[in-house]
């Protein structure tokens, strides 16, 4: 079972990428694609815990950290959802179906699923921040009876920028989750919320003593959402954030991802807000 999967399952050592084949690629938005990577030759597939990431290597170009966006209950299917922003992600996109990329991982601390058992869960996702949260949501759905009320608050720039849009709508209609979607800007015809994601927190009944919040998205958005949760009385220890920092080694050697005393690659990317509070407002040099 994924919750008890080891944090790392390296096939060839922590710094050596394993060549794996791209099984299929699905378009999510204009610049974002979900890659299904063939792990059928690995015994046990690719077990991971929700919130963890892999380093993906476009051979000859470079390596980047990408969250695992698939279902932890299906380790036979490894999914990554990638937005093309620069050289490595463009090269990854260029690999195409049947091509080979390098994978090492999984790395990092997962969402605290055990701690959330019996609690209400508020998931706050901004844009591609839904990718690392998706495995956690799929876990909650699979073990629905073990958790209280689950709300998913999702924000994007425009309706066209929503990743996993069809799935979000499906989650909403199956009614075991409360799904609220908001975009910053829309044209007439859009009947969901318009505005920033933290405003959606006003639509969720939050009992601070039995609510945990997990969020991932642009850091500024998360800071606003944390402020809103604090106003509602949710303690910092119950709020968890997934952070992004520039990564190289992903195993705590190189210091690229350091956030004062923490290494985002091994102490994170998921942190309780009480540990981040003193450092999150510091500017990087």
């Amino acid at each position: 079972m994924n919750l008890h999967a080891p944090l790392s399952t390296f096939a060839a050592g922590p710094m050596t990428p394993e060549p794996l084949r791209v099984r299929s690629i699905r378009r999510e938005t204009a610049d974002t694609w979900t890659f299904s990577i063939d792990v059928s030759r690995r015994p046990g597939g690719f077990p991971f815990r929700p919130g963890q990431f892999n380093m993906l290597y476009a051979f000859g170009v470079g390596e980047v950290a990408i969250s695992i966006s698939g279902d932890p209950g299906r380790p036979g299917e490894l999914l990554h959802t990638v937005r093309t922003v620069g050289p490595v992600t463009h090269a990854l996109r260029g690999i195409g179906r049947g091509g080979t990329l390098g994978v090492r991982g999984p790395y990092g601390q997962p969402w605290p699923l055990e701690e959330a058992r019996g609690q209400d869960v508020v998931v706050v996702a901004g844009g591609l921040g839904l990718a690392p949260l998706r495995p956690a949501i799929l876990h909650l759905l699979r073990h629905r009876a073990e958790y209280g009320r689950v709300s998913v608050l999702m924000g994007a720039r425009t309706p066209e920028d929503l990743p996993f849009r069809r799935e979000l709508m499906r989650w909403r209609t199956n009614s075991r989750l409360r799904v609220l979607v908001s975009v910053d800007k829309a044209s007439p015809g859009w009947t969901e919320h318009v505005g920033v994601v933290p405003a959606l927190l006003r639509d969720v009944e939050v009992e601070p003593a039995r609510t945990v919040a997990w969020m991932c998205g642009p850091e500024v958005m998360m800071r606003f959402a944390v402020r809103e949760l604090e106003r509602l009385g949710v303690p910092d220890s119950r709020i968890h954030l997934s952070l992004e920092r520039n990564m190289k080694c992903a195993v705590g050697f190189c210091g690229h991802c350091q956030l004062v005393p923490h290494f985002v690659c091994k102490d994170g990317p998921v942190f309780p807000y009480e540990r981040l509070r003193p450092f999150i407002h510091l500017r990087e040099v």
């Binding site: 007439p188 920033v196 606003f224």
Partner: protein
């Protein structure tokens, strides 16, 4: 059965005011309903009403020449709508359209604009609430205009 709609004194904008203060507002307000797609405010028209939304959702719309209408923010039950009556020239700056059927209280804004012999105490109390509301909205607009989802942002 849907829950009963909040009464005037239960609306978050007024809750906590004294019965005398609420009754002063009540005298200048009435309940209104709008069907889906109705315009509650139309840009350029005279602004003289503060709406306290009780249920339903309203979207603020800005018409951008050449680009058509853009949806800016959704307001809903518990929110207030319409502030252009605060300062001259008292004209709406935006359109506000019901996304679904809306129930609201419409308050005659002339009784809210400034201290009058009739409202010696009410005005500062409501002014603070309006300020709170404007501050919250300013924070939201700031975040919205940061365009945080842009690639590489």
């Amino acid at each position: 059965m849907p829950p009963p709609l909040p009464s005037l004194e239960q609306h978050p904008f007024l809750s906590g005011l004294s019965p005398e203060q609420v009754s002063l507002v009540a005298r200048r307000s009435h309940a209104v309903s709008f069907p889906a797609r109705a315009l509650l405010l139309r840009e350029g028209e005279q602004a003289n009403t503060l709406y306290l939304l009780r249920s339903g959702r309203v979207v603020l719309e800005q018409n951008v020449p050449g680009r058509g209408p853009t949806l800016l923010e959704t307001l809903k039950g518990g929110d207030i709508l319409g502030l252009s009556w605060l300062f001259p020239p008292y004209r709406w700056h935006l359109d506000a359209r019901a996304v679904e059927p809306v129930e609201a209280f419409a308050i005659d804004a002339s009784c809210l604009r400034g201290p009058t012999p009739e409202h010696p105490v009410l005005e500062p109390v409501l002014a603070m609430r309006l300020l709170r509301h404007l501050y919250d909205r300013l924070e939201r607009v700031r975040l919205q205009r940061l365009d945080v989802y842009k690639a590489g942002a």
